[in-house]
C-alpha cells in the first residue's frame, strides 16, 4: 500500500511512556489530521516518522518499505519526507530564496532556482525572495516554510501544528491558502493539531488519538462529528451535556426526553452526551421540558444559552444546568420559562461499566477509558 504506516510503536522518554503500542496508517494522496489533546504523543509519532527520534519498538513503513524498526534507522535526510515545524525553523542566516533552494538537490542550479521561484509563486512570496526571515511576518514565514518543505517533492509532508503560531485573525486565511497549495501539489500529508475545527477544515481523514497514542477513531470529518465511537471523541468538540442513566426497554430517559438506544443490555449503566447544538429550544411553549433561562452569551453567529431544568427529575443529572448553542436570532429573555427538546442526531450513548462490550458505538471501549470518566465528570459544564 502506498503511504505511511506505523505499527506497534511504543516509545519512552526516559521513564515516561509516550506511546503504547500505537499504530497509524496514512494512505497516499490524502490529508490526514492527527487530532488529540496535548501529551497524547501525536508529535512524537510525527518525529518518529520523520526519523528525528529513533524508533524503540515497532515498525515504520513508507510505500511498503520498512524505513525503521528496532535495528534499522534510515536517517531523516534519506527518507524523502517534508517537514514543517511549529516555529517554521527558517534558517535565519539565509534569505528566503536560499531557504527554499536548500532542499532541492540533484538538478542544475538554474533549475534549482526556477523550481524555488515556482514554489514561492505558489505561496505568493516571490516579491520577498531576497529578504531574510526576520523581516517577514508570521504568516509570511509560514508560507515560506511550506514552500521550502514542498520544494524537494517529498513523498510525504508532515506538518506539526502549522497554524498555532499565527494570530487568530490570520489563521483562517492562511489555513485556506495552505489547503489550496497542498491540494495543488497532491502530496500525502499528515498534520498534527489539537484544534478540532482546524482538523475538520483541513482533513480528508481525521485520526483521533487518546493517551499514549491510542487510536480512538479514524474517519472522515462527518463521521467523527456525527458518529463518535468513543466518549473522548464525542467530547473533542467542546462542552457536552452529560447525563447518567440506565437502559430501560431499549431506550434511555434523560430529563429532555426518551431516546432510542439499541444494542445495549437491559439495565446497563450508560452516559448520554448531548451536543450543545443538539438541544432545541422553543419560546412559544411547544413540546418539550420546561426550562428556565439563566444567561445568554452572544458569540457572533451563535448564541450560548445556559438553562436550568425546573423540574429536576429524580435520576441521573449531575448538574441541573443545560448548555445550549442556538442561532443568534433566538435570544430568550432571562428567567423566562421556555421549553427544550433533544435532537437524537446529536446525542451519543456510551456504556459506563465495562460489563458489556458489544455496545452500539464503541468497539474500542476498554478499561482504560473508564478511568477517565470520573475525572471528566465534573468538567462538563465548566469551560
Amino acid at each position: 500500500m502506498k503511504g505511511l504506516h506505523l505499527y506497534g510503536v511504543s516509545h519512552f522518554h526516559g521513564d515516561k511512556q509516550i506511546l503504547d503500542n500505537a499504530s497509524l496508517l496514512v494512505p497516499a494522496g490524502e490529508l490526514s489530521c492527527l487530532l488529540g489533546p496535548s501529551g497524547c504523543g501525536k508529535t512524537t509519532l510525527l518525529r518518529l516518522a520523520a526519523g528525528l527520534e529513533r524508533l524503540q519498538t515497532g515498525k515504520i513503513l513508507i510505500d511498503d518499505v520498512v524505513i525503521a524498526d528496532e535495528i534499522l534507522h534510515e536517517p531523516t535526510e534519506l527518507r524523502g519526507i517534508g517537514l514543517m515545524f511549529q516555529d517554521y525553523a527558517l534558517f535565519p542566516h539565509l534569505n528566503i530564496l536560499d531557504n527554499v533552494t536548500f532542499g532541492i538537490r540533484g538538478v542544475s542550479s538554474p533549475e534549482v532556482r526556477r523550481r524555488a521561484m515556482e514554489m514561492l509563486d505558489q505561496v505568493s512570496m516571490t516579491d520577498h525572495a531576497l529578504k531574510h526571515p526576520h523581516m517577514l511576518s508570521g504568516g509570511q514565514q509560514q508560507r515560506v516554510a511550506l514552500a521550502r518543505a514542498l520544494a524537494p517533492f517529498p513523498k510525504l509532508l508532515l506538518l506539526d501544528e502549522p497554524f498555532s503560531g499565527l494570530d487568530a485573525s490570520m489563521r483562517e486565511q492562511i489555513r485556506e491558502e495552505t489547503l489550496n497549495v497542498l491540494k495543488q501539489s497532491g502530496v500525502a500529508t499528515v498534520m498534527v493539531t489539537h484544534d478540532p475545527e482546524e482538523a475538520m477544515f483541513m482533513a480528508d481523514r481525521i485520526k483521533i488519538l487518546g493517551s499514549n497514542g491510542r487510536m480512538l477513531q479514524s474517519g472522515r470529518p462527518h463521521d467523527i462529528y456525527f458518529h463518535p465511537q468513543h466518549r473522548l471523541v464525542a467530547k473533542m468538540f467542546g462542552l457536552m451535556n452529560r447525563f447518567e442513566t440506565v437502559i430501560d426497554d431499549g431506550c434511555v430517559d434523560i430529563p429532555l426526553g426518551r431516546i432510542h438506544a439499541p444494542g445495549f443490555e437491559e439495565g446497563q449503566k450508560v452516559e448520554v452526551l448531548v451536543r450543545p447544538e443538539g438541544i432545541t429550544l422553543d419560546s412559544n411553549g411547544g413540546d418539550g421540558v420546561p426550562v428556565e433561562v439563566q444567561s445568554t452569551h452572544l458569540l457572533g453567529h451563535d448564541n450560548i444559552v445556559r438553562l436550568r431544568l425546573t423540574n429536576d427529575i429524580e435520576n441521573s443529572i449531575i448538574n441541573n444546568e443545560l448548555y445550549v448553542r442556538v442561532h443568534h436570532a433566538f435570544e430568550p429573555e432571562l428567567s423566562r420559562l421556555i421549553t427544550a427538546g433533544v435532537d437524537p442526531k446529536y446525542t451519543f450513548i456510551f456504556a459506563l461499566e465495562n460489563k458489556c462490550t458489544e455496545t452500539m458505538d464503541s468497539p474500542i471501549s476498554s478499561n482504560r477509558s473508564e478511568q477517565h470518566s470520573t475525572e471528566l465528570m465534573r468538567g462538563e459544564i465548566n469551560p
Binding site: Y7, S23, L25, P27, A89, G103, R205, M215, S218
Partner: protein, 573 residues
C-alpha cells in the same frame, strides 16, 4: 475505513533497552567523541594510576615531612584568595549593577581589566616596587632617615600574604563577572515585587537579589580557587610551599615522578571537591531564572560623599590590579627598550603565537566536534563522558604536565620498542619534549573553554533547525557546515581567542613540557623576572598583558549583550 484493521493494535514483544543502546551508538560522531575523550582523559588517568600505585614508599616520607605544610599553606592560600575575591568581586558587581555614581559606565568594563594580567606578572611588578631595594622603601628610608631594615617595619611581599594579595587582585574579575551577570539576568519583576511588598532598595538587594545570585557567586569563587591551585609562577617566586610547588620540587629537584604523581593525586582531590561545588551551583542556578522579562534593573542613585566612596571602591582594584602593573611595565619597557625589545623576544613571541594558535585551532575544532556529537547523540552517557573529558580546565597545569609527560613518554617508549624490534631502528622520543607535547597539554587544559562556549551557543539554536535541514536532505555534517557553523561563527571565534590568550599566559605546563631551549613569552618572563631582571622581561610581559586584554573585550561585550538572541555566547572560563 480501510485503515482500521491495520491500526488495530498488534502485540509485540519489546526489545531490550540495552540492545537498542548498543546499535544506536555506532556512528562516526559518537566513536570520534569517545576516542577524543579517551585521549584527553589519558593524562589525568595516568596521574591517578601512578599516584595510587604503591611505589617505594615515597608517600609515607612525604606525609611525614612536607605534606602537612603543603596542605596548610594551600588551604590558607585558598581561604585568603577566596575571601578577598568574594569581597571585591561581589562588592564591585553590586555597586556597578545597582547604583549610580561617577564613572560607573567605565568601571563596568574596567573592573575586568586585571584579568589580562597573569598572577606571576603582577607578582614580579609588585616585588620590584615593594622589596627592600625598591622605590617605595628607598623613598621611605630617605624621607625618614632610616638606614637599616631593622629600623622600620614594612610588609614582606614575598610571603603567603603577598601571594594572597597578588592573586586576589587579578582573580577577583571572575567573581565580578559572574555575579554581575547574575544581577543582570535577574528578572526586574522579582525586585519590583520586593519593592512593592515594602522593602527598601538595599534590603531588596540583600533579601532577594543576593540570594538569587548565590549560585553564580559560588561558581565564580570555585573558578578563582581552581586558578589559585593552578598557579605556579607566583608561589614559585614567593617560595610559598603549596601543592603545586611541591609537585615541581619532588619531580624536578628530587627526580621522583611517582612522588610527584602522588602529590598530584592529592591535589586532584581538592580539585574534585571544587568541581562538585561548581556543578552543584550550576545545577541550582538553572532553577533561578524563572521569567523571560528582562529590563534594566532599577538603579539606586547614591547621594553625597557615598558617590565618591563608591568611585574609590571600584577604582581600587582597577588601579592596583591593572593600572599600576601595566604602567610600571610600560615604564620599564620604555626605559629598557634596547635590551627588552630584542630579536629574541620577537622570536619567543612567535613561538607563543604558534603554540597558542595551534592550541586554539585544535581546541575549537575538537570542541565543536564534541559539542555537535553530544547534540546529535542526545545520549546521557556521551554527554557525561564529554563533560568528564572537559574537566581539564579544573586540573592544575602541574598535574596535567606530569600526566602528559608520563603518558607521552610511555607512548614514545612503546613506539621505540616496537620499531626497534620489528624494523631495527630507534625512533627515540617522538613526542616528549616537542611542541606536540605542549600543544597537547594546552588542548587538554583548555578544551573545556572551547567546548563550553560552542555548546552554549549551539544550545541557543532550536532543534527544529536541525530537523528542518535533515528533512531537506542534508546529512549531519552538511547541516553543521551550512546551518550551525554560520550561526555560531561569533562564538567560535570568541572561543578561539579565549583559548589562544589563555595558552599564551600559561606557565606551569609550558615550563615542563617545552622542548629544550625553547622559550615562549611566558617562560621568558618567568626566567628573567624571577632573576630580578624585570627590565629585560618588561617588553615580553607587556605583550602578554596586551594579548590578555582581548578576552576582556570579548567578555565585556558578551556581558552587556547577554540578552536572548545575541549571537556571541561565552562560557567562563
Amino acid at each position: 475505513m480501510g485503515g482500521r484493521h491495520s491500526e488495530v493494535t498488534v502485540s509485540m514483544s519489546p526489545t531490550s533497552a540495552s540492545k537498542r543502546e548498543v546499535w544506536s551508538w555506532i556512528n562516526g560522531w559518537n566513536i570520534g567523541a569517545v576516542i577524543i575523550s579517551a585521549i584527553v582523559i589519558l593524562p589525568i588517568a595516568t596521574v591517578i594510576f601512578i599516584g595510587l600505585t604503591p611505589n617505594d614508599d615515597i608517600w609515607s616520607h612525604l606525609a611525614s615531612t612536607v605534606l602537612p605544610l603543603y596542605i596548610a599553606t594551600t588551604l590558607q592560600l585558598m581561604i585568603g584568595v577566596g575571601l578577598g575575591t568574594l569581597v571585591i568581586g561581589v562588592g564591585t558587581a553590586w555597586l556597578v549593577s545597582m547604583c549610580r555614581f561617577p564613572g560607573k559606565r567605565i568601571f563596568e568594563w574596567a573592573l575586568l581589566l586585571p584579568l589580562a594580567v597573569p598572577a606571576y606578572v603582577i607578582a614580579y611588578v609588585y616585588t620590584d616596587i615593594l622589596e627592600f631595594a625598591g622605590p617605595i622603601q628607598s623613598l621611605l628610608r630617605e624621607t625618614f632617615g632610616w638606614t637599616s631594615k631593622k629600623a622600620y617595619w614594612f610588609p614582606e611581599i614575598r610571603s603567603l600574604g603577598g601571594a594572597i594579595s597578588m592573586m586576589t587582585l587579578v582573580l577577583y574579575p571572575y567573581v565580578y563577572l559572574l555575579s554581575r551577570a547574575a544581577f543582570m539576568e535577574q528578572s526586574v519583576c522579582v525586585l519590583e515585587a520586593s519593592r512593592v511588598l515594602g522593602r527598601s532598595p538595599l534590603r531588596s538587594f540583600f533579601s532577594v537579589a543576593l540570594p538569587l545570585a548565590r549560585p553564580a557567586i559560588v561558581i565564580g569563587i570555585s573558578l578563582v580557587l581552581m586558578e589559585t591551585l593552578n598557579d605556579f609562577g607566583t608561589v614559585d617566586f614567593f617560595a610559598v610551599s603549596t601543592f603545586t610547588l611541591g609537585i615541581y620540587d619532588v619531580w624536578l629537584n628530587m627526580n621522583n615522578v611517582a612522588g610527584a604523581a602522588q602529590l598530584a593525586t592529592a591535589l586532584l582531590a581538592f580539585v574534585m571537591f571544587l568541581v562538585l561545588v561548581e556543578r552543584f551551583a550550576r545545577h541550582k542556578q538553572r532553577f533561578h531564572n524563572m521569567t523571560a522579562k528582562y529590563t534594566d534593573l532599577p538603579r539606586y542613585e547614591l547621594q553625597g560623599s557615598k558617590r565618591y566612596l563608591a568611585t574609590i571602591c571600584c577604582a581600587f582594584p582597577v588601579v592596583f590590579g591593572f593600572i599600576i602593573p601595566a604602567g610600571v611595565l610600560t615604564g620599564f619597557a620604555v626605559l629598557h627598550f634596547e635590551s627588552a625589545a630584542n630579536a629574541d623576544v620577537f622570536r619567543f613571541a612567535g613561538n607563543s603565537v604558534i603554540l597558542s594558535g595551534l592550541a586554539a585551532i585544535f581546541a575549537v575544532a575538537i570542541g565543536t566536534f564534541m559539542a555537535y556529537a553530544v547534540r546529535l547523540g542526545r545520549g546521557r552517557l556521551l554527554g557525561a563522558l564529554v563533560r568528564f573529558a572537559s574537566m581539564g580546565y579544573a586540573v592544575p597545569g602541574s598535574v596535567l604536565a606530569v600526566g602528559v609527560l608520563v603518558s607521552l613518554g610511555a607512548l614514545d617508549n612503546g613506539i621505540d620498542g616496537f620499531m626497534r624490534k620489528n624494523i631495527g631502528i630507534s625512533t627515540g622520543l617522538l613526542f616528549s619534549g616537542t611542541i606536540v607535547a605542549v600543544t597537547f597539554g594546552y588542548l587538554v587544559r583548555f578544551l573545556a573553554l572551547a567546548f563550553g562556549t560552542v555548546e552554549a551557543s549551539l544550545g541557543k539554536i532550536t532543534p527544529s533547525m536541525d530537523g528542518a535541514a535533515r528533512s531537506l536532505g542534508h546529512n549531519p555534517l552538511s547541516t553543521l557546515r551550512r546551518i550551525h557553523l554560520p550561526l555560531i561563527r561569533g562564538s567560535v571565534l570568541a572561543a578561539a581567542i579565549l583559548v589562544f590568550v589563555d595558552s599564551m599566559k600559561e606557565l606551569p605546563m609550558t615550563v615542563i613540557l617545552r622542548p629544550f631551549n625553547f622559550q615562549t613569552l611566558a617562560t621568558y618572563v618567568h626566567q628573567f623576572a624571577s632573576d630580578e631582571q624585570l627590565g629585560e622581561a618588561s617588553f615580553a610581559a607587556l605583550a602578554i598583558v596586551c594579548f590578555g586584554i582581548l578576552p576582556v573585550i570579548i567578555l565585556s561585550f558578551a556581558i552587556t549583550r547577554s540578552r536572548p538572541g545575541f549571537p556571541i555566547e561565552v562560557k567562563v572560563p
